[in-house]
């Protein structure tokens, strides 16, 4: 690795537009494991059936030289159409969705519901002892919500990982 150890580690969101073909996710993920890069979150789904395109969104961390290396390495995979660094895109929008189960009664239950209203979370299931909240937003917002729910009976969290898109009328 290049000798520039004093550079700080940064977090980046990369949108990797790929051909939707067998093994393409393994190629991308295999690259990260083979070269020792980090994956903080990963989402993948087909986005355009007509042209067979899928979008993989990866949140990764590293020093800037490593992040450039990751982008170059992704770009040379034959099935990869484009790599977009969403973090560097001032018009980039990033969102994550989470389902959060909280089990509590009495005052904690009332407080959990109150906090969920502040965060504009949706209640999508309820029993007398529990809620499931649906929350969309930046990852930090979901982190903050989970922290607040922890003393109020947080039992389970399911998150999609980050999705991203470019603002404005153009496609990426």
């Amino acid at each position: 690795m290049p000798q520039r150890t004093h550079d700080p580690v940064e977090t980046r969101t990369l949108a990797v537009l790929v051909n939707n073909e067998p093994g393409v996710l393994a190629r991308v993920v295999g690259l990260f494991s083979a070269r020792g890069y980090n994956i903080e979150s990963l989402t993948v789904a087909e986005t355009d059936k007509a042209v067979g395109a899928s979008r993989i969104t990866i949140v990764t961390t590293g020093q800037p030289v490593i992040l450039d290396q990751i982008k170059a390495q992704l770009d040379r995979i034959v099935s990869v159409r484009r790599v977009i660094d969403v973090t560097l895109d001032p018009a980039g929008v990033q969102r994550e969705l989470a389902l959060i189960k909280v089990r509590s009664t009495g005052q904690d239950r009332i407080e959990a519901l109150r906090v969920s209203e502040i965060f504009r979370a949706k209640v999508i299931d309820t029993t007398l002892q529990s809620f499931i909240f649906e929350l969309t937003g930046a990852s930090e917002k979901i982190d903050a919500f989970c922290e607040l729910m922890r003393p109020l009976g947080l039992v389970e969290v399911s998150r999609t990982g980050v999705l991203s898109i470019h603002r404005g009328p153009e496609s990426s």
Binding site: Q3, G23, A26, Q69, R76, V78
Partner: protein, 589 residues
């Protein structure tokens, strides 16, 4: 490569016939392979096919290295054909070897029928899964309609951009199914765009740096050889017109003639004193088609600390991977060199390089490849020197195995042309040399092809001498036999307190008798006085030869940059080795 549309565009062929037709349309004349259940339809289509010569190997690894040797010597794509399961897994090593050294090969593997995939069928392996990280790209073709397109795309991916190995896995039912054939014209993957011409602004920046340089050096690699003979000619013109010194990696030998006064010899761990010191002390480094490998750079924080670095590479991910550079040029080496040559000619600089060349001459005076000669035993360096002296007017092709003999070959065999030197650089694959030599000889039946080998390496792919005999391919295997895994022994001496753990071969075959058993010719020399005559005899024989050259047993390969040290900390000989490698260096390979 010239590719032409097939005249039988619209007709319906079986998958196996499509494979053969596609190979023919790609200009393939030789394939190296081994039949088995899952490729029988393709072998049936090859039966009595006059346009393609099939070379039957003895082990699929041999087929892969033959395809590599063929590709490196001809500049064309090498092709191997193997069956499913073990056939495919046996060729994984050559695939990785070709990936590391950027060698264009296409491997076609058979697969169990589609309805059996995933059922742990006989000779089933997840070939595309296993070879995903061993190839530049791979394909499993489940639909015969895709087959012709995929094969043509495979050739395009293998040879374009940074060349590399690809694999096409074809289930047996797809080989029987029928479809219309499509020719190669215009077929290339839509999402794959290899770099071409350089950015003129970057070239201008590079030329400006070069024009002002006082202590410049060219550091070139296999990328120049891959870019083709014209690129090598452009490199020669640029180096001569600039008057700069030039060194190269192991993979780049031959792109610039070793007999030229501007040539400094190979650089790196066992490179020349002058090459490594020039790299360390230079003020402008022009790297073309090389990748700052750890064998080249030594300790990274001590690597050429005072230089501005220009890096030309067709692969963007090579830039700033190991060493940060000042000017990165993403382009084909030939096009970039041409642009650089034009930019240089437009500027007409007259750099004052005399002090730099005086310094280089002082380093050269160290004669870092010198060794203590002997009248009684054959020194391995002497053996390579004599082999070079006695064959150089025959335009020989040299392959090697991996180890000390490989380094001595690189040090003492001078290459004046590209595509004459086939060696496993990145992966360091023992067993590469003999099959690679067979591949070269298949391409050039009348050439002198020599595998400079060690007695340990050669035994890893020994069986391919049988292939050479079958096809009357008169390869010469020149074994520097010291009975030790020499490089392992050297490292054990230098790093592990002379504890020679399992590096001595207590039992070795009689290589002369072994040659005879295979139907080849066996020769032996153990005295310096007999060496020349024996080498001449080897050259004169028009059959495969195994030459058992008994050499000094414990000779070390010098000079050497000890692991974890910088270029200017290299050592010249045994007397300097004590304590030369510290604990941190020991951790490195």
């Amino acid at each position: 490569m010239d590719v032409v549309g097939s005249p039988i565009l619209a007709s319906t062929l079986s998958g196996a016939e499509i494979v053969v037709q596609a190979l023919k349309d790609q200009g393939v004349q030789h394939i190296f392979g081994y039949p088995g259940g899952a490729v029988l339809p393709i072998y049936d289509a090859l039966f009595a096919e006059p346009a393609i010569q099939h070379v039957l190997v003895r082990h699929e690894q041999g087929a892969g290295h033959m395809a590599e040797g063929y590709a490196r010597a001809t500049g064309k794509v090498g092709v191997a054909l193997v069956t499913s399961g073990p056939g495919a897994t046996n060729i994984v090593t050559p695939l990785v070897d070709a990936l590391m050294d950027s060698v264009p090969i296409v491997v076609i593997s058979g697969q169990v029928p589609t309805h059996l995939i995933g059922s742990d069928a006989f000779q089933e392996a997840d070939t595309v899964g296993i070879t995903r990280s061993a190839t530049k790209h791979n394909w499993l073709v489940k639909n015969v309609e895709d087959l012709a397109r995929v094969i043509h795309e495979a050739f395009y991916v293998a040879r374009s951009g940074r060349p590399g190995p690809v694999l096409v896995d074809i289930p047996k039912d797809v080989q029987f199914a029928k479809a219309a054939y499509v020719g190669p014209k215009g077929l290339r993957p839509k999402t794959y765009h290899p770099a071409g011409s350089p950015d003129p602004a970057k070239i201008a920046e590079a030329a400006t740096l070069m024009a002002r340089a006082q202590r410049p050096v060219f550091y070139t690699g296999g990328g120049v050889v891959n870019a083709g003979p014209e690129a090598c000619q452009t490199l020669r013109a640029l180096v001569r017109e600039t008057g700069f010194p030039i060194t190269s990696t192991l993979m780049g030998l031959g792109a610039f003639p070793a007999s030229d006064p501007q040539w400094l010899g190979m650089l790196g761990m066992h490179g020349s004193w002058e090459a490594n010191h020039a790299m360390h002390d230079c003020d402008v480094m022009i790297c073309v088609g090389a990748r700052f490998d750890d064998r080249v750079t030594g300790r990274l924080d001590g690597f050429s600390p005072g230089s501005k670095k220009i890096h030309i590479d067709v692969d963007p991910s090579s830039l700033n991977k190991n060493v940060l550079v000042d000017v990165g040029v993403v382009a084909d080496a030939g096009l970039a060199l041409e642009a650089l040559l034009n930019a240089w000619r437009a500027r007409k600089p007259k750099p004052a390089l005399k002090p730099w060349w005086d310094q280089i001459d002082a380093w050269r005076a160290k004669r870092s490849f010198a060794y203590r000669p002997s009248d009684t035993v054959i020194k391995p360096q002497y053996a390579v020197e004599r082999l070079f002296a006695l064959t150089k007017d025959k335009d020989p092709y040299i392959t090697t195995e991996v180890g000390q003999h490989q380094m001595w070959a690189a040090q003492f065999f001078g290459f004046d042309k590209p595509n004459r030197w086939m060696t496993s650089g990145g992966l360091g694959t023992m067993g590469y040399g003999l099959p690679a030599a067979v591949g070269v000889q298949a391409a050039f039946p009348d050439a002198l092809v020599i595998d400079i080998a060690g007695e340990a390496s050669i035994q890893m792919m020994m069986q391919e001498i049988s292939t050479a005999v079958q096809y009357r391919l008169p390869v010469k295997v020149f074994i520097l036999n010291n009975e030790w895994m020499g490089m392992v022994r050297q490292w054990q001496q230098l790093l592990h307190g002379e504890r020679y753990s399992h590096s001595y071969s207590e039992a070795l075959p009689d290589f002369v008798k072994l040659a005879e058993a295979y139907g080849a010719v066996g020769l032996r020399a153990d005295k310096p006085a007999d060496l020349d005559d024996a080498i001449k005899e080897m050259i004169a024989v028009d059959r495969p030869v195994i030459f058992d050259c008994r050499v000094a047993k414990t000779e070390n390969c010098f000079p050497m940059i000890p692991s974890g040290k910088a270029h200017n900390e290299m050592i010249l000989g045994d007397e300097e080795t004590r304590g030369a490698i510290d604990e941190e260096g020991k951790m490195l390979v």
